[in-house]
């Protein structure tokens, strides 16, 4: 693992592995973004402009590889005008054009929370297949499963970091710091404490099977 960035104030070190950073106060995230050399990364946030051009034109102008249209399930919207789309679709298109036409480490700033589950899974698959390193900065606990590593950032710095499920298992610490847990993980953690399941789960189907079958 190679270090890519350190921030002494928050005792934070980023390595070239995919990680999620979750925080309990927006000011902490804003301070981090102010100090990160964003010009060294592909930085993607949720700020968008409702352009009055077609999706196809927008993608072409941004160097999108048009043979990826079926991969990203864009067939039904390529001829639509961007400003006519819902916000999730516009952000999705922004993400895709940034990913497909640039190379480097990607930083997502609260992007996945706007997307549908299907859109998130497609992007995650693309990132994995193309071995793209990304840092997912989010306040939405349900998005922590976008990466296998998780870092919890508070005013005092990095409170805990490690494998996502290991970090989430520190329920008391996370709750004390003002975080909630992803629903299925939280439910399975509680069921495990009652010896009703043997382990924690991150997906509904897994927990339902373990509990009732």
């Amino acid at each position: 693992m190679k270090k890519i960035f350190t921030y002494d104030k928050y005792k934070l070190t980023l390595y070239d592995v995919c990680s999620t950073i979750i925080y309990n106060d927006e000011k902490i995230k804003n301070r981090l973004l102010n100090i990160l050399p964003l010009e060294d990364y592909i930085f993607i946030n949720s700020d968008v402009i409702p352009f009055n051009i077609s999706v196809k034109k927008y993608l072409e102008l941004n160097g999108f590889k048009m043979n990826l249209i079926p991969y990203f399930n864009l067939q039904t919207i390529t001829n639509k005008i961007i400003s006519s789309l819902d916000l999730s679709s516009i952000i999705y298109i922004k993400v895709l054009s940034a990913l497909s036409s640039n190379e480097g480490i990607v930083i997502f700033d609260n992007v996945f929370t706007y997307l549908s589950d299907e859109q998130k899974q497609i992007i995650k698959k693309y990132l994995s297949e193309n071995h793209i390193i990304y840092i997912n900065i989010t306040s939405d606990i349900e998005d922590v499963f976008m990466t296998k590593n998780l870092m919890v950032l508070t005013e005092s710095g990095v409170a805990i970091e490690g494998k996502t499920e290991d970090v989430l298992s520190e329920e008391k610490l996370l709750k004390r710091l003002g975080f909630n847990l992803p629903f299925i993980f939280d439910l399975s953690l509680k069921l495990k404490s009652y010896d009703l399941v043997k382990k924690t789960y991150t997906d509904v189907d897994g927990l339902v099977s373990a509990l009732w079958k």
Binding site: E26, P50, F183, V204, D205
Partner: protein, 194 residues
Amino acid sequence: MEIEGKVIAIIDNSFNSYRHYKKEIYIFDNLPRSIKKDKVLEALKMVNLNEDYILKKSNDLSNVEYNKLLLAKDLIMDSKVIFLDFFEKGMCYKEREYFKKLFKKLSKDYKFTFLINTNDFSFCLNLVDEYHIFKNGEVEHIISKKDIYKEKVYEYFNNHHLIDFVCKSRNLNHLHEDYYDINEVLKAIYRELK
């Protein structure tokens, strides 16, 4: 259609969230001179901001700050119908819960109406009174919060893991009641298994 004092989720696939697109403006520009500073400060306090934000331009604000400032302005102007557009995005868990309580209080005690546009069902659960499904610019269907299971309104959203879990359990002949809270689900599972 009576909407006063309700929190309503809008479901409209053709809806454009133009409020999300920040313009280069001072949000508190054009406030009537009759509005007293105390009222402005009270509204800012209610949305967890301070008076430094009065003179900030939209483009200098994060999305969270921008949404809060828009809400503060609506409260200052006594707008009885307040539109919240992906309001909770970027907000930490504690703040989301704070604002859910605030919206419930303002709607019940002061008859404010909140129209919520979001894709996050976990934000709507235990907050929204009604779900209004639009088609071609008109309300086609209204679903009450007590019918979210029956009418499957959650299918229009993401983050409906609690409902998913209950529905999939029902397919296996378990958890036959409607649950809205993790503790209710936990108790029900415990009762069935023990």
